[in-house]
Amino acid sequence: MLKNRLFYFIPYGLWLILFVGAPIVLMFGESFLSMAHHFTFANYQNFLGSGIYLQMMFNSIWYAFLITVITLLISFPTALFLSNLKYKQFWLLLIILPTWINLLLKTYAFIGLLSKNGSVNHFIQLLGFAPQQLLFTDASFILVAAYIEIPFMILPIFNSINEIDNSLINASYDLGATRWQTFRRVILPLSADGIRAGIQAVFIPSLSLFMITRLIGGNRVITLGTAIEEHFLVTQNWGLGSTIGVVLIVAMVITMVLTRERKKRGRK
């Protein structure tokens, strides 16, 4: 039937070469070029030598870590409780719906909510406190990033919890396990793959978010993504930008290796 397999592969193969292979190779190459387009290791020396970039990288990883942890803590109970609902697929759809709203619009909403005269500050004043500077703080950046990432964490965890065979949980109760023991020894291990997938889906984008750092973080928070954007589009130092890009790719690969699906031990 698929004698003309080669024919099918022409457009797809072109795409693989031109838009998957070439750009990554080019970026890697560019990272060894100085601003005058000469071969150099200066970008890497610059990145690793000066404390500024290393500091920025650790900050970025730290923020991404915080965002991931907060998202996970909020999402896991949500996914667990959702899986107990009657029309769970419908409720899940409602969780996913906000991800279909443009990211920029959601971020923009927070500018209104968190601004000096915004609704959150009104609420704070109602409680009897003085209005706070909320926008352009580290906390606001983490809050908005977590808000945007929550559905991407809930979805994989929900799917893995939803696949758990009910009889396992019933068996656990029948054998005298408490609620907590059932959760700790049955549900949590069996949803581990979903948690890993969720961490992967949240941590990597959190390293590279740049519009939230600009609009909500007010340039106070610099992530790897912000630095890349800055070097490509503002200072035009593509070499250094690509170097940071390579670092980000390495960070991504490490994250993926750490969170990949574990081989199932025992029978399967």
């Binding site: 397999r5 409780f81 959702l82 619009l105 915004g118 939803n162």
Partner: protein, 271 residues
């Protein structure tokens, strides 16, 4: 797993839903504000919708965004479906895995990396930045999701269907257009929808490859939001929310249709 849900659990869920939707409804609510800011609601008014529909630049950008989304998702669907057919035909499991991993690279790569590396690529090719570069980028990052939507349908297609068609004298073109593609249709539609929403939603990649003359909605909102709040954007977001709702409903019905077909197919086999 279904067990009795405590009242606290339901309360928690309600709070999560409120938090998820609050910013969106907040935006929409203030789009009807007679005042100029996202605070102190001073009265109901549609004037910001009026401003939106009188803003030719914004309307042009909305049009751009939809043209890019429609064209890119169409082309990505065609290329992606062919790609899925190609991958399906590969018999060597190692080769297949390599292809699938390559396919997924753009799905897991951070937007910034895709945007920056595409910018290098287009500049090296000497292509000007604008509609063309944005369209190509959107096609490029939408292809893998189409492949992922179509491939499972291919894998569950029984080979006897194709054998039967060939025995009955169909040539390979007829097999493709009369048997395989109709069977894959639900997966292809789902892929198209996903590609469409990916394109509508994208900001970072477009931001890198868009140049000066051409703009999409997300990029425009970004540059306006950096200058401060304008309730015209709120009006726009209310309209976008309705469009998203329509898209989700469409996607939901495609899924329902898929499930129904699957059930019918099983029924047909068993009885």
């Amino acid at each position: 797993m279904v067990e009795k849900q405590s009242r606290w659990a339901n309360l928690y869920l309600i709070i999560i839903f409120i938090v998820l939707y609050l910013p969106i409804f907040y935006l929409i609510f203030y789009s009807f504000n007679a005042g100029e800011y996202m605070q102190n609601f001073s009265g109901f008014s549609l004037k910001h919708y009026g401003e939106l529909f009188a803003d030719n630049r914004m309307l042009q950008i909305v049009l751009n965004t939809f043209v890019v989304a429609l064209l890119s998702s169409l082309l990505a669907t065609i290329i992606g479906t062919f790609g899925a057919l190609g991958i399906y035909g590969v018999k060597n499991p190692l080769m297949k895995n390599v292809l699938l991993s390559l396919n997924n690279i753009l799905l897991v790569s951070p937007d910034v990396i895709i945007g920056a590396s595409f910018l290098i690529f287009f500049t090296l090719l000497g292509l000007g930045l604008g509609f063309g570069s944005v369209l190509m980028s959107h096609i490029a990052f939408s292809i893998p999701i189409v492949v992922l939507m179509v491939l499972p349908k291919l894998n569950e297609m029984s080979t006897t269907l194709v054998d039967a068609a060939q025995d009955l004298g169909a040539n390979s073109w007829q097999v493709l257009t009369r048997v395989i593609l109709p069977y894959l249709a639900p997966g292809i539609y789902a892929g198209f929808f996903m590609a469409f929403t990916y394109s509508l939603d994208d900001f970072a990649v477009t931001f890198f490859v868009t140049g000066n003359g051409f703009s999409t909605l997300a990029v425009e909102i970004y540059s306006r939001a950096r200058q401060g709040v304008s309730l015209e954007i709120n009006a726009l977001s209310a309209l976008m929310f309705i469009i998203s709702l329509l898209l989700v409903t469409g996607y939901f019905f495609i899924n329902q249709y898929n499930l129904k077909r699957k059930k019918q197919y099983k029924k047909g086999r068993n009885g």
